[in-house]
Amino acid sequence: MLKFIIRRLLVTVPMVLVVVSITWGLIRLAPGNFYTGEKAIPPAIERNLREKYGLDRPWYVQYGRMIGNTLHGDFGSSLKYPSTSVNSILANAVPVSATIGTLAYLLALLVGIPSGAMAALRQNSTADYASMTVAMLGISIPNFVLGPLLVLVFSLTWFWLPPARWNGFSPNLILPVLTLSAIYMAYIARLTRSGLLEVLRSNYIRTARAKGLSDREILVRHALRGGLLPVLSFSGPALVFIITDAVVVERIFALPGVGNYFINACLNRDEPLIIGIVAFTAIAVLVFNLVVDVAYAFVDPRVRY
């Protein structure tokens, strides 16, 4: 197991390098530069800027520096925000994104699993239909619709919750977390339901029932373990999607997370910042997948590494 983890972690390094290299190439292909704006700048100033940021060096020197920075985990100074280093931007922005992402996923699990389990246990009941209808809505309404709708109701009509902005752990988090988690909540509820339905019909559950175990014990000790496997395998990609979905939610709710920076970094052609965020996201994706793979071994006795 340990060997497996180490091997996977080692693979992370070349994979991140491949990802940043492709990104770097794409940035170069995009027309325009970080200093281009509505007003043209004289050639002399452009030359000063290119010298200052080393853009006058040959491409392989620039590429080598970027790879070196990535390996050192120090992405240098942002081009758009010259007095700020990419690392300090990440240090400020990642906790914000992590907070709403984690809270959103926890909320999705907390609501999704019980409602899915309830629907499975009372299959074809009113409760089943009701929860699956709500889940269907959750899947079909995109977050950029849901967010403004929630704002409209809770912030602008009833004035209960703030409509946007970051304020640490505060009511400001409620709407963005709700918006971000809705679709995952819905998916998890549906996955739990279908997973449980399959498991509840299997032989070992019948055996458990024949032994005289109570419904509650069957569900908690035997059925859920197998029934939640689809939820677990969904969690890997879900945690990744949450990062990309957060881009939208952070914009709607004006949160100082990674997503806001990412959009603007691309529009601004802010190479060090783009590379920093892409490298960070790539690492996060690889780590999430590893964690899910390891968790499999604990949940499913058939999985061995």
């Binding site: 043209a40 700020t84 704002v151 881009v247 939208v248 004006a254 100082p256 997370g257």
Partner: protein, 609 residues
Amino acid sequence: MTTRHRRATPFAVVAARLVACSALALSLSACTVSSSHSQYFGKVDPPSGQTLRYVSGPEPESLDPQLTTGQPEGRILMALFDGLTEYDPKTAEPIPALAERWDANADNSVFIFHLRPARWSNGRPLTAHDFVYSIRRGLSPALAARAAYLAYYIQYAEAYNESGVFAQDPRSGAFVMDPAHPDLRLVLPGDEASRAKALADPDLAAAVRGKTFVPVRAEDVGVDALDDETLRIRLTQPVPFLVALMAHHFFRPVPREAIERWGDQWTSPGHMVTSGAFVLRDWRPYDRIVVTRNPMYWDAASVHLDSITFFPIEDATTIMNLYKAGDVDAVLNRTVPAAWVDELRQYKDYMDGPEAGNEYYQINTTRPPMNDARVRHALNMAIDKPALAGYLRMATAETSFVPAGIFPDYPVVAGDSFDPAKARALLAEAGYRRADGAYDPSRFPVDRVEVSYNTLELHRHVAEFVQAQWKQNLGLTIPLKNVEWKTFLDSRARLDYNGIARSGWIGDYMDPYTFLSIFATPTGDNGTGWWDPSYVALLNRANRQHDPAARDALLAEAEAKLLDAQPVIPLFTTGTDWVKKPYVKGMYANPVSMFAWKYVWIEHDPSRW
């Protein structure tokens, strides 16, 4: 200053559309919520005490006045740094700030500024030497300031910024003078290759033969301190608008001790030393910037606010949501979405006035069919601009290039008015006609013309409107092309576009020259391929005038020449288009939306709102 249109991302585009739908629903609910204050929009609860919460737009690139170019940064910097002059809160005309008064020589090419006693926030006296240091720093090639071009009117500023060289006689030490300006030294490019190209001119080569090339140094720039309270600025040409230009944040002095101690980290809270009404308390990127009262400020007695919190938020709908919920007190200009304008106009919150900026279409005059002035005029005449402005709701139609009504004494130079019949006649005259001489739209090469614009709802609306006008009035279907912002800028700057590209300009300073000078050089912001030395001559003659009326007349003559050549199609002037709560006093819809924060206060007594 750059026009910082909020550039719509794909997400934002979708979101904006959806939110526009919900705006409808919202306008219904607005009536019920704010029934108690029906003349105001949303919640009206003044913050306790004298604190202001202002949405300042995009996250500032930096709080270094010399490294930023945008208006949104300029607004924040106005709280932290004072300039020689400041923008008048109502008219944006220059008013005295650190300079108590000033004199100019007869032809406006040497200015003497007399400073008032003032201190930095660390208690050190602020003197003319601080200005000398700051302007030299702003021009240093190593700083690579993008706004440095604003200072190019100062003697040898451009030469220093572009690392140029003087030619000096090794024996006598005399400098070779510039044949075009006999009282200025000749400046040659610093790098060998460009210099060799410049010296291809045999007269020039002869003049510098046997001379040594010495780099232009910071000390050569035409800014000097005559004493602690007197600053002299020598210019390369007459610059009657210098006093207005000095309000720009690029010219606001920066604290030498903080910069030398902290390097590029001097703008962090705790490091920054300021000269303005406020000091920096906190800066959390994409979250907030908090400034608090500066007790050392020379005019501290007039400052009302104890603190200002600037929220950097870009999404217009999010900004309006916060405003409606009462979480912010005022927002930046060009923020109220077009779909909301009619609704917002009913409230006293809406701040409406013309901006010192214009929106226009520029034409690539180097490629047919647009190289024919008749075609350019025809396209201009076939647009019903008042109808366009009415459709956009927050705009004023323009036929002139310099926006009307911003510069009180400057005459309005009317361009072509809406005249579809004449437009068709002009096109027929240009060769797009049948054998009998009647106009024939099918002969016009529409495949060689297109309207390109950068991604933004507003620009799309305008382009579609103009397209419909040409279809209706000329029978031409000109294709539209939507281009990502930086890609767009790139192709526009290289004149690599067919036909027409969207453009906009916000004045750098309060003078018509800021608009007219766009076309003073063939390169840079011009982007049309049109350049006329006689136009430049008129501008230069105007700047040499002492009498403002005579100057305005010459500038207007130049503008008439521009409109006659028609490398641009003026469209409209945008409105200021922002909102503030009734309890925020001392902020006005001025043409540049720049606010001297020391004049702003929170009025807690509703009877005075």
